[in-house]
Every structure is written in structure tokens, then in C-alpha cells.
Amino acid sequence: MAVRECDVLIIGAGPAGLAAALYASRAKLRTVVLEKGTPGGQVRTTWSMENYPGFARGMTGPELMDRFADHAKEFGAEIVRGDVATVDFGGDHKIVTTRGGEEYRARAVIVAPGAEPRTLGLPGERELRGKGVSYCATCDADFFEDLDIVVIGNGDAAVEEAMYLTKFVNSATMIVVHDEGILDATAIIRDRAFKNAKMKWVWNSVVEEIRGDGVVESVVIKNIKTNERTELETNGVFVFVGTVPKTDFLRDHVELEKRGYVVANELMETSVDGIYCAGDARVKYLRQVITAAADGAIAAVAAEKYIHEEEGFREMVLDPKEPVMVAFWSPTSQASLDFLPRVERVAAAREGKLNLVKIDIYKNQRVAARFGIAEVPTMAFFRGGELVEKVCRPTNESELAAVADKVIGG
């Protein structure tokens, strides 16, 4: 198995992964992006891209993603074809293997796997996929030139994709669960759709079944007010009813919420040190190209800081041969500020035999949490990379000195 080392490994080359790659590689980190298909993620399947700032009409999803990828590569990021098989986030080196047999060892990992279209599970839906049932307008629009289609969904994506489809089809019938005139889509998109002569509307209704022998022939529509069922002949059914995150490979490795989205904080930190999440796979309010890119930038900067902190901690605390006393303090704790001069005296009296490292727990919450430092001042003693003693809130200097001598005497 080929083993490759890098600083930051990014899983997924959608807008989140590519923005992270740009920021990480520009910070001079060795950056590898793993992508199982073509870079660009879901944006690849979106033709009209008119809400990414700086690009008005005329920019397409695929073109914008080509620019993202080129931009990341310009700073040295490497985009590699690969499908993740296993992950091991337990050690200092995060290990990711691919189905192609490569093994990556990274100091930090940014997961940006994105999401994929949600399916409805209707009778006929699975059987007729690629036979008239589609989740991708740009992929399949050409098949439906001058034909009639049905669109399920009424959010922004559904209505925008339906409008794109009207450039090809004879008619697009929107099946909407709401009362007449009400859509989940925003007002600007709704108003444009209502003016589109090729779009037809069926209100208060849901699709119950997709029928066809080999190819789609009709749908069964149920009016939820009257419970009346009607069969509507159609050549295609496009489904745009939201997405599901592609996070199965992360299950049991990082915390996910019940629908499978990765739980991460404002710094994109997941439940595991050194593992970050960016983009649509994360629990968040708005899933757009711009928010994915923003996540990517934050994750990359946070990962960079993490790598440097870990490197610093290793060099100062874990690697030295002589014992190290780490003084955890906080600028908000007067007691810890008052005690620091005494800590310095204890260290100075043992120069050459004991190193002193001061860590502000406010700035280094992760390190403090890892060693269970809840209160300050706490002095932790390390020898040979191991935590050997801990003194929590010592009452006086001699108490600390005694522990220091015990550690040195080892």
C-alpha cells in the first residue's frame, strides 16, 4: 500500500474543500484533496449560478468550480482522484485509506464530503431512475427536449432547476403540497417562475407513485385536501426535495446528529481533535456555495493553528529529555497570575534539570482539555512525553517545589 504524508488532507473537492485547499496551501501547508469524481461537488450539477458575489448572470456552476479548483492548484494544493475506504482519527497522524489502495497520513483532516439529492422512496422511483426519473437537471435535460415533465419540490433549488428545464421541455408541471400561490422558494424566484409560460402548477398535491414500463409514462397525484387521485401522463419526473449528507464513512468516528450531519463548532472543529468539517455535510443554517467556501476558509485556518500548536507542544513539552513543568494559567484568573512568579522561582532554582512552559488555557483550550485541566493555576509535569504529576491550585511554593523535586528524582 502506497503511503503518502501531508499536513492537511481534505476529503471532497466541492466549494468547501476547494476553498479550504486554497487557504491551506497558501499558508504553505502540504495540502492534498481527495475527490472521488470531478471537482466541484453538487455545484457541478447546477447550471445557473447567480448568487455568488462578484459573478452575476453568465456564470455557471461548473465554470465557477473549475475556477475554484484552478485557484487552489495555483497555490500548490494537489487534487487527487480517490474514494475514501476507511478513516482512523485516533492517533497523532490521522490515517485515511482509499479504495484504490493508497494510505494518507495527515496532521489534520478537513472533511467536506457534501450532500447528495434526497430520494422520496416512491413506488417506481428506484426502478425508473435513469429511465425518466432524475435528480440532476443539467445531466438529463437534453433527453426531455419538447417533452412534458413533472417536478417534485418547491424550494429554491426545485424552482430554479425547473426554470432551467423549461429551456428544453415542452412543459414542466410543478406538484406543490401547499395552497395555491404558496412556495417554499424565495419571492424573487417565485415571481419569476409564475411568469414562466412553460411552468404549470398543481396545488395541494403530492406524487404517490411513478408508473411506466421501462420508461416513465405517468405519475399518480393525490390531492391532500380531497384525497382524490389522478393519473397524469408525463415523460419525466425530476425530484428536488433537499439533500442528505454523505457522511456514512464518518459514523463512529466523529459526532453526527440524527440525520447524519456532522456536528462542528464555529471553528469547524468536530468532536475529534484535528478533524474539521466544512460545507453541506455540517449542521448549519444555510447551505450555499458561499457558506461552503466560508466554512472551508475557517476550517483551513483553524487546522493551520492546530498543526502549529501541536508542533509547538510536541517540541516544548513532549520531546525534551529533561522533565517539563507546564504551568496552565489564565489572564482572567487573578490567583493564577499571582502564583506565576512562584512557579518561575521553582523552575529557576532547578535550571538545567526542569524546563518551564507556560500555557494560557484560554488560548489553548484543546490542550488543557486533553490533560483534564479544569482549574488554574495547575502545574502538570511531563517526562519522556508522558504526564507524570499534576498539582492543582497549590497553596504555597514549597508544595510545588516538593513535587518538582520528586519528578526530577524520578
Binding site: G40, R44, C139, D142
Partner: protein
């Protein structure tokens, strides 16, 4: 890979003596483009037993729909003038295509 179209589909695919694989694709289909190198690798491996063809659906829309292909990517296998197996959308992976070639490529 042999480019097939509405003119030669009958002779090259349906009239072929042995098994034939047809890669239905289009320039607008990104998953199809991503699959190209993988299908080519398989063509190098199984090309002696199976005839590998590609069909651009943009230029052969009626023919594609006639073959009941209304979504991309679709990789189908034909034998004796009939479609015997087919993989579409997410199912059209390198591993699945290879399994299909093993089963029907004799």
C-alpha cells in the same frame, strides 16, 4: 472505443457477433466524464472479449430514448441484438461495470 451513432448502431451493436458494451454519455454530463478513464481501463482489460462503444446522446437522442436510456451515465451491455444488462446513475461505478463485464462478457 468505437463511436456509435444512429447510422451504425444497428450494425455495430445490435448486429455484432459477440458481447458489446455501450457507454451512453454527453459532454454536459460530469459524472460521465469522470467515468471515462475507468471505462478506458476496463476496455484495455476486456477489449479482446467485449466490443467497447460509446454513444453521444446529445447527437443521438431518439436512438437513446429508443434504447430506454433517459439518464446519464448509463453503461449497457448487448448480446445477440438485445440489451442484457445495464447500470445507470450511482450504480455505474467501475466495480459494478467490471462485474457486469465478467457476467455478460462471454
Amino acid at each position: 472505443m468505437l463511436e456509435v451513432n444512429k447510422e451504425n448502431f444497428e450494425a455495430e451493436v445490435l448486429g455484432a457477433a459477440g458481447p458489446v458494451l455501450v457507454d451512453f454519455w454527453s459532454t454536459k454530463c460530469d459524472p460521465c466524464m469522470a467515468l471515462v478513464p475507468e471505462v478506458e481501463t476496463l476496455a484495455a482489460k476486456y477489449g479482446d472479449r467485449v466490443k467497447f462503444c460509446k454513444l453521444n446522446v446529445l447527437e443521438n437522442r431518439r436512438l437513446s430514448i429508443g434504447q430506454k436510456v433517459l439518464g446519464l451515465p448509463t453503461i449497457a451491455m448487448y448480446k445477440g441484438g438485445e440489451k442484457v444488462a445495464e447500470l445507470t446513475k450511482d450504480d455505474a461505478t467501475s466495480a459494478n461495470i467490471e462485474a457486469m463485464l465478467k457476467e455478460h462478457g462471454r
